[in-house]
Structure formats: structure tokens, C-alpha cells
């Protein structure tokens, strides 16, 4: 077109053609092309992307799930055609096409708010830019994300956000990992025009875990939506309007929810940060190690951020099947217990009752001597809540070699049944809970026992209006539930069909029954399980395609212990024992131990067990060793060492292997691979890490139990959510939480 104009000018100047004569060729210096001539042909041909561009892959290597493959629609993102499922928003379509659109208020797991306006993109045939997070993608839409209009929109939004944002970057904990910093560098303009004074907001006290600097808040409302939707508490809200908007609790309340720490991750700016981590480190000095949480049986995936020998903070890792992106407060903040009350030297209790630090040689020599003076039937071993599978394997092997079969794990009760796997794991996997439509909770309070399982149940209740029936002591769950009763009598009524809830169960498509591991400690455990199995049969909960009969475990070590076969010979072997080996076991009833018994405590914290111990052998905590843990749904995962061991401590299984050699009953493995191949001969599923191994046989193989059910109502297995094991009991932050945040 330009050339035509040029040629007409030269022709006019040359004087050959006088102006005034109508020459259509010169006046209209439009170059004519075939598209202009043929209007229909142009519309039918879409702009095809230049053939040499690489194929676009979704952002972050995500997979796209098409629930209805016939319903896929095609949109064009920056000229590139992409197929998306129906119902997706423009932002999600761009994500599939590989374009990451900046956003502050949108989060894939929360409802859509659309109030930050940072995700504005240009859509053809639309008078103004659209908020891509809220606009559903229609077929044939042409989305443009890199036009000058979209860029100007982003710069403008950034300018507005930064107007009232304080200049806190040097003192803000979020510096280095702040969405506002990153997006202003990438999408903001280089200069500001703000010359007035900024507004400031008073800080709110949300408890000992979440530090608030509300001046930095950009009112994205992510925290409000998280608290109402996922945590189930309606603590936070937006007060006021316009520039006077404040996020807070309207009354002076602390955030008592067990998921309150996740708002720290969700907040894109430094308004909500971690109080224990305040001013401690910058994110670029930290080394992240991917590991597993051991405070409860869920096995949430975490990332331990450490600086040198110290754990600085714990962040969640994405695992869609287990914990999505959230972790409970206990998991997030208990790490300061790893620095207190640590055992770092072997110690022997002298005749005056005081401990004396000795060398490993002497300590192991003393233990070996004592163990040979005792009869095999008087040797007892107890594995603790935080023991990994390798150390439990070594303990069982060693004690079996010494002639004793009284090894068990805490929390499994006096007579655990490890034969049928489906009797002690969560057969509906944690992600499978989303498909259930009726829940029956028996003797379990998932909110304090396994917070992530509770979050999943709440997600199902919200999304599918699932019904929840609860049998146990009065407790508050953050979703609507029916309190059916407090004791086993209610279970009998449901099994016989006399209870109104039985009909709900029978009519359910996917019923899910969850029994808590607190039932293991009861004397009538078999009777209760047989009643529950009757209920499951009448509700058709166990089918080839759906197994709804679950057990919710309490400790990280229980499932692996039962997989490895840590079942004691007799239930009350402690009262008649002379040699007790406590491997991190603090919940053993110390009164039951006889006065003349020799107690060896092998652990990492000086908790309850050491008060009765005669010898202390220091071992490493979960953040310092590579151990295999099986979670409540039967998925084996390994922790990775993030920090070096404290003092003279050793790994648990290494101590037992060294002890076996000194005692003359040498175990046949001396490296991690060797002990793992030994584990493979016993329980091969422990080696398949990150894979959930479902149970093959159902309860129908169990023999009939003739036990009488007692009328004692169900109790609470977890009294204090914040202090459940040796590390959490040693933590100052957990002590503050249990003092201020527990509901009295």
C-alpha cells in the first residue's frame, strides 16, 4: 500500500499528469490484494500460525483433562489454535496454550473473584479488555495477550496497586518471592507518577502463627476465600469500601483453624507472613529439600528450607493425591522443636541416678552385655511414632535374632492384626474421598487427627453436598455433619437398620466409612470392626470398583510397622520384661515397666522416654535421615536428609546394626541398599515410593469374631492437636499455639 502512494506522488510531481483529471489509479493509492477482493474467502480461512513456531505446551507441563472429549472447543490464543474443554475460562485456555497471564486474586483452587484486574487480555470484538480469570472461553474466540492494549492495561493496574503499597521491600519477608515484585518487573511500567501520601492500615492480630502487616495488603481476597471455602472458618472478611478496604476479623479473634498457615503461601504480597519465620532469612539463601512430613499419618509432601545446619521453614509441595497444596499448621511450624531438647551423645545413667555422657563403644558394650544376661522372653522392643521403616526392620530382625518376638509399634494397640492389609489402611485413597457421597466417621475426629484428610472431606461435602454422619464424642468439624451417637450402641443400631442414618447409607452410591485408629486401643476392637463390616456389607461399600471401608491412622510409623509385621506375641509383655528397647517411643505407659528392667532409649529428643531410661542412644530426626514412611492410604514415601545430624547422633538402623555386631548377633546388611533389599523380602510395597499400593484382599477373609462389644463410648485419640509427638512437644511455637489457639 505504501508503494502505491509513493508511485502516485512521483507521477504527480513529474508533471505528466495534471491534477484535476480524475485518474482512479492515482487517487486511490490502495494496493489491492486477493483478500480484499474476495470477502468470503478471507473469513473462511483462519490465520494459521507460522509453520516454524514450536508447538505450544501448557504452562508448567500440566496435563489437560477432558471430562467430555466431544465437548472440546477451539479458541485462538495469540493466533495459535488450542483445544480446551468446555467451561474453561480464558485464563485457563491461555495456560493450556502455554501463555502465563499475570494475576493476583485468581487461584486455581479458590473461587473466582476478578477484583485485581491484572489478568486483563484483549479479546477480539470486545469493546474493552476482559478479565480472563472470569470470562468463560467461547468457541472461536480470538484471545490476544501481547497487544499494546493488554500491556497498557497491565501497566495501569500495576501502577494503581503500587500507589498505596508501602516501600517495605527491604524489611518485608516476602521479598525475593513476592508476586508483586516479580510482576512489576515483568509487566509494570518503569516510572511512577504518584506524588500524594499513601494510606496505611492498622495491623490485625491473627495469632502466634500469622504475622500481618495490613498496609501491604492489595485486597485480592485470596485469604478470605481460602478461609471460607477450604478451611471452613469464616474468620476473615473485607471491611469497608474503596481505598478504605481492610481485611480482618471484625471482632478481636485469632485464626484458630488448623489450616491457617496456608494463607501465608496464598497471600501474593507480604501482608500475611509467617510469624516464627519473621526476619529470619531471605528465600535465596535457603536450600530446599523435598521431604515428607511425619507429624501425622497423612505424609504430606513438604519442602524443608534450610540454611546450613538449621531448618528455617517448611513449605508445602504439590501432590494432587495427598495434600494438594496445603499443609496443616502443625506440619508448617513445628520445625523449631528440632532445635530444642536434642540428644547428641550416648549417655549412661550412673548409680546416683544422673546421666553421664560416654562414647559409643562403651554404650554399645554395656547394652550388649545386659542383653545377654536376660532371657529371650523378657526382651521387649517398642518402635515409636516417628520411626522409619528401615529402623523398624532392623529392630525386628535384631530382636528376633536375640530370640524375642515382642516388638510392636506405638499406636497399634495390644493385639494388632497385620494379616489383612485392608484392615488398617485407607482403602479409598485420599484423592478417592472426593468421589464419595456419604461419610460415616466412627471414633475419629479427622480435624485433629489428619487435617488434610479433613480438608478433602470438606471439599467433597462442599462440591457434591455429601452427607456426613459422625459417631463419637462431641466435636466440631468444619462442615455440616450429623452427630449420630457417642458409643458402639449407635453402630449396632445402624448395622441393624434401626437408625435413620442406615437408609442414607444404603441409598448412597459411594458410601465411605472411616474408622479411627483410636479404636485399636480398645479391648472390644474386633467386635467394633465386625459391626462396621456388617454396616459396610449392607451399604455395599466394598465392591470391585469402590472400597469404602477405611481406617484412619494416627502416626507416621503405624502403616509401615504393620506392613513389616511388627506384631507382639503377647499383649502385656512389658510387665514381665527385663530389657526394654524404646526406639523413639514416648507414649509407652512408663508405670507399667518393672523397677528392675533395663531400659534403652534410642531417639532424638529428650521427651518422656528418657526419664525412665538407663541408657540413651542418640539418633537422627526425620529431617536428617533418609527413611521410608508409609502414609495412611498405603503410599510409601521417603524423607531426604536436609540438615546434618546433631552432635554424635547416628541413624536409627545403623545403631541397631552396630549393636547387633557388638552383641554377637550381627545383622546381614550394612548399607541402605542392603537393608532395603531386606525390606523387599518382607514388604515389597515399601520400595515402590510415591506409588499407592491398594490392598488386595477385603475383610471377607477375616474369621468371625465372637467378642462382646462394650458400651464404653468412643474417646478422643488426639487431645491436643499441637502437641502429639516428641518434636512438637519440644517446640516453642507449638506451645504458644496450644496455649492460645486451642478451643477450650
Amino acid at each position: 500500500m505504501g508503494l502505491g502512494l509513493l508511485s502516485s506522488r512521483t507521477l504527480l510531481r513529474s508533471g505528466k499528469l495534471r491534477p484535476g483529471i480524475f485518474t482512479p489509479l492515482l487517487r486511490r493509492s490502495i494496493v489491492s490484494t486477493s483478500e480484499l477482493q474476495n470477502a468470503e474467502a478471507a473469513q473462511a480461512q483462519p490465520d494459521s500460525p507460522p509453520p516454524d513456531l514450536p508447538k505450544r505446551t501448557p504452562v508448567g507441563g500440566a496435563r489437560v483433562h477432558f471430562p467430555n472429549p466431544e465437548d472440546a472447543i477451539e479458541v485462538f490464543v495469540d493466533g495459535y489454535p488450542v483445544k480446551i474443554p468446555k467451561g474453561m475460562t480464558v485464563l485457563q485456555a491461555c495456560e493450556i496454550a502455554g501463555v502465563d497471564i499475570p494475576r493476583f486474586c485468581y487461584h486455581s483452587r479458590l473461587s473466582i473473584a476478578g477484583n485485581c484486574r491484572m489478568c486483563l487480555v484483549e479479546v477480539e470484538k470486545s469493546p474493552k479488555p476482559v478479565a480472563s480469570c472470569a470470562m468463560p472461553a467461547l468457541p472461536g474466540m480470538k484471545i490476544k495477550t501481547d497487544t499494546p492494549l493488554a500491556k497498557k492495561a497491565r501497566e495501569g493496574v500495576m501502577e494503581f496497586l503500587l500507589m498505596n503499597h508501602p516501600l517495605d521491600c527491604p524489611i518485608c519477608d516476602q521479598g525475593g518471592e513476592c508476586d508483586l515484585q516479580d510482576q512489576s518487573m515483568a509487566f509494570g511500567s518503569d516510572r511512577g507518577r504518584f506524588t500524594e501520601t499513601k494510606r496505611s492500615v492498622v495491623d490485625k492480630n491473627l495469632g502466634p502463627l500469622v504475622k500481618t502487616v495490613m498496609t501491604r495488603c492489595i485486597q485480592c481476597t485470596r485469604c478470605v476465600r481460602f478461609a471460607t471455602e477450604i478451611a471452613g472458618v469464616q474468620d476473615l472478611g473485607m471491611l469497608g469500601r474503596g481505598s478504605g478496604e481492610e481485611i480482618g476479623t471484625y471482632v478481636e479473634r485469632l485464626m484458630t483453624s488448623e489450616l491457617s498457615g496456608n494463607v501465608i503461601d496464598i497471600c501474593p504480597v507480604g501482608a500475611l507472613t509467617s510469624k516464627p519465620f519473621a526476619f529470619k532469612a531471605r528465600n535465596w539463601e535457603l536450600k530446599g529439600t523435598e521431604s515428607i512430613d511425619v507429624t501425622d499419618a497423612v505424609g504430606s509432601n513438604i519442602r524443608i528450607d534450610s540454611r546450613g545446619p538449621e531448618v528455617m521453614r517448611i513449605l508445602p509441595r504439590l501432590n494432587e493425591d495427598i495434600n494438594e497444596e496445603w499443609i496443616s499448621d502443625k506440619t508448617r511450624f513445628f520445625y523449631d522443636g528440632l532445635k530444642r531438647q536434642r540428644l547428641n551423645d550416648p549417655m549412661i545413667r550412673g548409680p546416683d541416678g544422673r546421666f553421664k555422657a560416654v562414647s559409643w563403644r562403651d554404650a554399645l558394650a554395656v547394652v550388649a552385655e545386659v542383653i545377654h544376661q536376660v532371657k529371650p522372653s523378657e526382651i521387649v522392643g517398642v518402635a515409636g511414632k516417628l520411626s522409619d521403616a528401615e529402623s523398624m526392620m532392623a529392630l525386628k530382625d535384631f530382636l528376633n535374632k536375640m530370640g524375642s518376638n515382642n516388638v510392636w509399634c506405638e499406636g497399634n494397640g495390644p493385639s494388632p492384626n497385620a494379616d489383612i492389609r485392608s484392615g488398617y489402611i485407607m482403602n479409598t485413597s485420599i484423592s478417592g474421598l472426593e468421589k464419595a457421597d456419604v461419610f460415616l466417621l466412627v471414633g475419629t475426629q479427622p480435624r485433629v487427627e489428619a487435617a488434610m484428610v479433613n480438608a478433602r472431606i470438606r471439599k467433597t461435602v462442599r462440591a457434591a453436598q455429601a452427607k456426613v454422619g459422625y459417631v463419637g464424642p462431641a466435636t466440631d468439624l468444619n462442615y455440616d455433619h450429623e452427630h449420630l451417637g457417642t458409643g458402639p450402641q449407635t453402630l449396632k443400631e445402624i448395622a441393624d437398620g434401626r437408625h435413620p442414618f442406615s437408609s442414607t447409607l444404603i441409598n448412597a452410591k459411594n458410601p465411605c466409612i472411616i474408622v479411627g485408629a483410636g479404636v485399636f486401643e480398645r479391648n472390644d476392637k474386633d467386635a467394633i470392626f465386625s459391626v462396621v463390616e456388617t454396616i459396610a456389607e449392607s451399604a455395599k461399600a466394598v465392591r470391585p470398583d469402590w472400597n469404602g471401608l477405611n481406617v484412619l491412622l494416627l502416626n507416621a510409623a503405624q502403616a509401615a510397622a504393620l506392613d513389616l509385621g511388627l506384631v507382639p506375641e503377647s499383649g502385656n509383655s512389658i510387665e514381665s520384661s527385663k530389657f526394654i528397647y524404646l526406639m523413639g517411643a514416648d507414649d509407652v505407659n512408663l508405670e507399667k515397666i518393672p523397677e528392675d528392667a533395663f531400659v534403652v532409649y534410642q531417639g532424638h529428643h529428650g521427651d518422656r522416654g528418657v526419664y525412665r531410661a538407663n541408657i540413651i542412644l542418640p539418633s537422627s530426626a526425620f529431617s536428617e535421615k533418609e527413611g521410608t514412611y508409609v502414609n495412611t492410604e498405603g503410599c510409601a514415601q521417603t524423607t531426604v536428609p536436609a540438615v546434618p545430624t546433631v552432635g554424635d547422633a547416628r541413624d536409627d538402623w545403623k545403631i541397631i546394626r552396630a549393636l547387633s555386631e557388638v552383641a554377637g548377633a550381627c545383622l546381614p546388611y550394612d548399607s541402605l541398599t542392603a537393608i532395603r533389599s531386606r525390606m523387599r523380602t518382607v514388604a515389597p510395597n515399601l520400595l515402590n515410593t510415591d506409588e499407592r499400593q491398594p490392598a488386595i484382599f477385603s475383610y471377607s477373609l477375616k474369621p468371625e469374631s465372637r467378642q462382646e462389644m462394650s458400651t464404653v463410648p468412643f474417646g478422643t485419640a488426639v487431645e491436643n492437636f499441637y502437641m502429639t509427638d516428641s518434636i512438637t512437644r519440644a517446640s516453642k511455637v507449638m506451645a504458644q499455639c496450644s496455649a492460645s489457639l486451642l478451643k477450650k
Partner: protein, 132 residues
């Protein structure tokens, strides 16, 4: 100091193992006689006792007890003599003495003693540290 000057000139190689053995013992005696001097130079009275230093020297010599070649023994003695001369001449400093020959010498008596003969590699590594 004076007795060290004698060994300045490099002696010819020892002809046999017995002569090398004799030279080793002479070196050890030389070192032990210089120890009070070294303790005075570097003010080690509060840090170690002469007996501990003697044990340290002995263990260093014992570390190479497995060597049989007289020429190699001569070379090791030459290097040992050089170290000793450095310390006696105050060419090294206090932190060298302490760091190289005082700290971390707990295993002196237990160094390859009779009770360690029957234990496996695993147990030896276990006693020393968690990461071996």
C-alpha cells in the same frame, strides 16, 4: 637445636631395613628431646602435656609402620625431620601445632589396638561418624 644441626646434611640412603629402623628410632628420640623446647616456644603448657605430644609423634610414625622399602623410609624420615625443624625454628606457629598435632587426637591409645581387630568396616565407620 644443636642436635638438629647434625642432621642438616642429608645422609646417604640406608642400606638395609635394619639401618632404616635404627634411623627411625634416632628420629623419634630426637623429636622427644625437642618436645620441651617446642612447648616453651609455643606456650603449650596449658594445652598439652609432653607425654601426649610424645604419643602423637609415636602414632604418626606408627601410621607408616607398614612401609618396607628403605628408600621410602628415608624419604619419610626426611619429611619428618623437615616438619620437626620447622617447629623448632619457630617457622610454624602455635595454631599449626595445635591444629595438626593436638586437636582430634583422642583415638591415640585406641589407634589400631587389640580390641579393634575383630570389628567390621561398618562398625569402624560407625564409631567415627554418621556419614562414612
Amino acid at each position: 637445636m644443636a642436635h638438629l644441626m647434625k642432621n642438616l646434611k642429608v645422609p646417604p640412603n640406608s642400606t638395609s631395613r635394619e639401618e632404616a629402623r635404627k634411623r627411625t628410632f634416632d628420629f623419634f628420640r630426637l623429636a622427644c628431646r625437642s618436645i620441651p623446647n617446642i612447648m616453651e616456644i609455643y606456650n603449650l603448657d596449658d594445652v598439652v602435656t609432653p607425654s601426649q605430644l610424645r604419643s602423637t609423634v609415636a602414632s604418626e610414625i606408627r601410621k607408616n609402620a607398614h612401609v618396607t622399602n628403605p628408600k621410602v623410609i628415608d624419604m619419610l624420615l626426611f619429611k619428618g625431620m623437615e616438619e620437626l625443624k620447622n617447629f623448632v625454628d619457630h617457622a610454624k606457629q602455635r595454631h599449626h601445632v595445635i591444629g595438626q598435632y593436638v586437636v582430634g587426637r583422642k583415638g591415640l591409645v585406641q589407634d589400631l589396638g587389640p580390641k579393634d581387630e575383630g570389628i567390621s568396616n561398618f562398625l569402624k565407620n560407625f564409631y567415627s561418624s554418621n556419614y562414612s
